[in-house]
């Protein structure tokens, strides 16, 4: 499956990702450092104190020097600098910790997205033009039309308020857990993943309907295979190929969505940090978070490309 060519391909892509990450953080860095120095601080500082602070954050040098120092620190030490608001807090360990939490949430959401999406899509295609199909297809449109915060809000209302007696009100994520309690994670993960599950379902359905018309499905049937084997082994594997294409945008969607969902459920991940640091004007953290996001998007796209290799033997790098 993975040949030497694949390894070379992975190597090239990793290099490309590193450069993309640097490019993205550079753009954000330069965009933010365009602001006048005092706009970066919330306090009104003057004189020596202000100069000290500027010096502390390396802001007293020319922009190009600042940028060079930033890149060197990032590449050599993985250092993203220090928070502007909470002085002394290093950004790299902060965002790495938060990244872990977000990955956990996002991964769980992806299970909903792909699991439910494939299930609904396959069932709708197998039961094409029956009421099952219509219900699932309509649910799909409703699903991707509902903003995730609306879904989240209704989930909170139902499980957190109306069913509080049943759930004990423990629908909020508990702080500080690297391995969060999955029992508490499933509500936010569902709210985050479901809109995209609808998209996966629509695509899977269309793709399945295309595939089941293919000659090799007829061959499989002529061999006397069971219908479930035909659907899962012969149809679904082929139907997945076009579905994989949207996994890249999907990963971006989940990252984006996590900003809202983490805020709503109080999950201390990257998304919450991102919104918070923007509102607090803690711009250096924004750079850090965005660097993480760029890396995640790059990795997600790499995984997608490798998924093609696993699913479709005709694709080799």
């Amino acid at each position: 499956m993975f040949t030497r060519g694949t390894l070379i391909f992975i190597g090239q892509r990793v290099v490309l990702i590193v450069f993309t990450v640097l490019a993205v953080s550079s753009i954000v860095f330069l965009g933010i450092h365009r602001l006048p120095g005092d706009a970066l601080f919330n306090e009104h500082l003057h004189g020596e104190q202000y100069a000290l602070l500027l010096h502390h954050y390396n802001l007293d040098k020319p922009l190009l020097t600042q940028y060079w120092d930033f890149i060197v620190a990032l590449v050599t030490r993985g250092d993203l600098g220090e928070s502007l608001v909470n002085r002394g807090v290093k950004i790299t360990p902060l965002v790495l910790r938060e990244l872990g939490i977000s990955v956990e949430l996002g991964g769980f959401a992806l299970i909903f997205t792909i699991g439910l999406g494939l299930l609904f899509g396959v069932v709708a295609s197998v039961r094409q033009n029956t009421w099952v199909d219509y219900v699932l297809s309509t649910t799909s449109v409703i699903g991707y039309s509902m903003p995730n915060f609306v879904i989240a809000t209704f989930l909170i209302l139902v499980f957190g308020k109306w069913l509080e007696g049943v759930t004990g009100g423990t629908f909020y994520y508990q702080l500080g857990a690297w391995k969060g309690d999955l029992g508490q994670l499933w509500l936010p993960a569902f709210a985050l993943g479901f809109p995209y599950a609808s998209i996966v379902a629509r695509l899977t359905r269309a793709s399945m309907l295309e595939v089941v018309r293919q000659d090799y499905i007829r061959t499989a049937r002529a061999k006397g295979l069971r219908e479930t084997v035909i659907v899962v082994r012969h149809a679904l594997r082929n139907a997945l190929i076009p579905v994989i294409t949207i996994l890249g945008p999907l990963a971006i969607g989940i990252i984006t969505g996590s900003v809202v969902i983490e805020n709503l459920f109080g999950i201390p991940g990257l998304g919450k940090e991102f919104a918070q640091s923007i509102l607090n004007r803690d711009y250096f953290i924004v750079i850090g978070v965005f660097t993480m996001y760029a890396a995640m998007v790059g990795l997600a796209n790499l995984v997608v490309d490798l998924a093609y290799v696993v699913i479709d033997p005709r694709i080799r790098y």
Binding site: Y144, T153, I156, L157, G160, V260, I278, R281
Partner: protein
């Protein structure tokens, strides 16, 4: 084989019947029709809200804070005692302005870029394609969020931020359409007879790509509305006291334990609106391109 000889081989495929056929198919799609009716009502509400709202949307304390729905305040009041219904009506204006305004700008930016890239190909196309791919590779909403903060939150800046991050859907579509259309005989004939490029692009290619463009724009509206709601929900949207469905939902979520009515109304209206645009888009796509139907 019976071969019908087309005497008018260089005439354009756009025909009056295409649009009337599409209209006929659209009318038969009950879901799309219901969506259209809902949207017409919504536009009506937004227009009425210019002249009349039950209360002034920014007037605080006209009802007790967090007042539940009553005859005087059909949807209750918010955390500052402002009338929810009035705010929802103004919110409709904001959402529609953002949705439609964004798409108009996206059309103005995306259509020419797509036309030029698809028609001239070569380096121009490569540059455009590269830029489009770069934009597809970044989390659009988060870029918009940063932009809004760098530009300062206002309705115009929100629209600009959304256009900057969402123009490429349209550009990509138009580029693809142009690439396909420029090979068709009526375009070749036009080129051979020395028609000016601009006339070819806007007089011949664009009208023939109008169907997909309309569908794309229809789908673009809910995505822009959703964007604005997201931004407002995160506190980066239209600034108080101007209401937006997103910021109203945010205020509602903060009070969800004791005043759930505050979040329910904007959440439902927002979802219905997005759904209506999506159903309408589906209906338009099916009507304008019968081949893509299930």
């Amino acid at each position: 084989m019976a071969v019908t000889v087309r005497v008018d081989a260089v005439s354009e495929p756009v025909q009056a019947s295409l649009w009337s056929d599409a209209w006929r198919r659209l009318r038969r799609n009950r879901l799309a029709l219901a969506a259209a009716i809902y949207l017409i009502l919504l536009v009506g509400v937004a227009i009425v809200a210019i002249f009349y709202t039950p209360y002034r949307m920014s007037a605080t304390g006209i009802a007790p804070d967090y007042a539940t729905p009553s005859l005087a305040h059909w949807l209750g009041a918010d955390n500052l005692g402002r009338d929810q219904l009035s705010r929802l009506m103004i919110g409709a204006q904001i959402s529609l302005i953002v949705g439609v305004g964004t798409q108009l700008l996206v059309l103005a930016v995306g259509v020419p870029i797509g036309l030029l890239a698809g028609y001239y190909r070569g380096w121009l196309d490569q540059v455009v394609t590269f830029v489009i791919n770069v934009f597809y590779g970044v989390p659009d909403l988060l870029v918009a969020l940063i932009l809004v903060f760098l530009l300062g939150p206002s309705l115009a800046n929100i629209i600009i931020a959304i256009v900057v991050t969402r123009w490429m859907d349209m550009a990509r579509l138009v580029r693809g359409q142009t690439l396909a259309l420029r090979e068709r005989e009526f375009i070749e004939a036009g080129r051979a007879s020395g028609a000016k490029p601009m006339k070819m692009l806007f007089g011949h290619i664009m009208p023939n790509a109008l169907g997909p463009i309309i569908v794309q724009a229809t789908f673009g509206v809910p995505s822009a509305i959703l964007f604005e709601a997201f931004l407002s929900f995160l506190g980066a949207g239209v600034q108080q006291p101007t209401p937006s469905w997103g910021s109203m939902a945010k205020d509602g979520v903060d009070a969800i334990q004791f005043a759930p009515h505050m979040v329910i109304a904007p959440a439902i209206v927002l979802s219905l609106t997005l759904m209506a645009f999506n159903f309408l888009g589906d209906g338009l796509r099916d009507a304008l391109d019968p081949r893509s139907r299930r």
